[in-house]
């Protein structure tokens, strides 16, 4: 076990109910994955949320660089064929 004060950070994902995807709910410190799951149970599921917990050590998550926002996320507005805007959406369809 690592020394006190150097517990790694873990990201917590909860699946609210069957059929839904896991959603990120927050993060916590724990010395290992078992205690991370246990701490997640105490911090995030006390009011009955969730049927499944995932914990992922934050250090293994690779994130996109905020400076790359333009190239990554600006929609290619000139490529109209990428945007499904040609359909009539029935009124009773809930999106």
């Amino acid at each position: 076990m690592k020394e006190r004060g150097s517990w790694p950070l873990w990201e917590v994902f909860l699946r609210g109910r069957r059929g839904l995807a896991h959603q990120h709910v927050g993060s916590l410190h724990a010395p290992d994955w078992e205690l991370a799951v246990q701490n997640a149970r105490d911090l995030y599921t006390r009011r009955g949320e969730g049927v499944s917990i995932w914990v992922v050590e934050s250090a293994v998550i690779h994130a996109s660089d905020p400076d790359d926002g333009g190239p990554l996320f600006d929609p290619p507005a000139d490529k109209v064929y990428r945007h499904p805007t040609f359909y009539e959406v029935p009124e009773d369809l809930k999106l």
């Binding site: 006190r4 410190h29 078992e34 205690l35 149970r41 105490d42």
Partner: protein, 256 residues
């Protein structure tokens, strides 16, 4: 109603046995709020304390109903002196350090889980209901203590020696968990209470397995320390009660 076939006074005292264990241990754990080694553990220990407090409330309320003398959960929690408390000596032992806290949790939660699993089938429907709900909580408490016992027992030299010291200190108090007493035995015969002696093998197997995983040994058995069930407590309970009961005794029935 089970009180038709057993003495109400027996049932009342038995409810106090179980309720006082929960109440006193809950207070011990509550003492650690904002003092645990890590924030996450602070929340975990507080959650354990709240689970136990919930069980204590149900059991003390029931003891008051069975007694039928007008005492509610608050009167029983805050209005009794130490000689009137029936909790096990184990649960009143101070936190000392995290190792003592965890070993006390391991010993008690393993016992409580075995107890509740039997009490779920009690002829007394109130006790059966409390046990059914409490068994899930006790199971989690046991797992929490087990994970920490393994990590600390099999951790650093420092953590191992602290765990050994905690086991050595607390072990003599575990004998009381399985001691038969006349009140419990009468209720066992009526199908209401769980037989303490029958819980010991279950408890012992769980402790042995966890200790093996944690690299911890059993201390030499030098006899047991008991007295809590009959109100003869260690010096620690009086101090705990003076703190726990202070507000209620200074300002009776205060609310906010």
């Amino acid at each position: 109603m089970s009180t038709d076939v057993v003495a109400a006074s027996d049932l009342q005292v038995y409810a106090l046995y179980l309720g006082d264990d929960c109440l006193i241990l809950s207070h011990r754990l509550a003492e650690l709020a904002a003092h645990a080694p890590e924030f996450e553990e602070d929340v975990a220990l507080s959650n354990l304390a709240l689970d136990l407090l919930g069980q204590a409330r149900a059991l003390l309320t029931y003891a008051g109903v069975v007694e039928a003398a007008g005492r509610d959960e608050d009167a029983l929690a805050y209005g009794r002196d130490d000689r009137e408390f029936h909790n096990l000596l184990l649960v009143e032992q101070p936190n000392f350090d995290f190792a003592h806290t965890i070993v006390r949790q391991l010993f008690f939660a393993s016992y409580q889980l075995a107890l509740y699993r039997r009490l779920e089938h009690s002829q007394d429907l109130t006790l059966a209901a409390v046990a059914a709900k409490g068994a899930k909580e006790a199971s989690y408490h046991r797992d929490h203590a087990r994970l920490w016992t393994v990590r600390l027992g099999d951790g650093t030299k420092e953590s191992h020696s602290r765990m050994e010291a905690a086991v050595g200190f607390l072990w003599p108090f575990t004998g009381e968990l399985f001691q038969p007493d006349p009140i419990t035995q009468r209720l066992v015969a009526a199908g209401i209470a769980a037989d303490p002696a029958a819980l010991e093998p279950v408890w012992r197997a769980q402790i042995d397995q966890t200790f093996a995983e944690a690299g911890l040994g059993h201390p030499v058995e030098l006899g047991i320390r008991q007295g809590g069930r009959s109100g003869l407590h260690s010096e620690h309970l009086g101090h705990l009660l003076s703190e726990m009961q202070h507000l209620h005794r200074s300002h009776p029935n205060a609310s906010w």
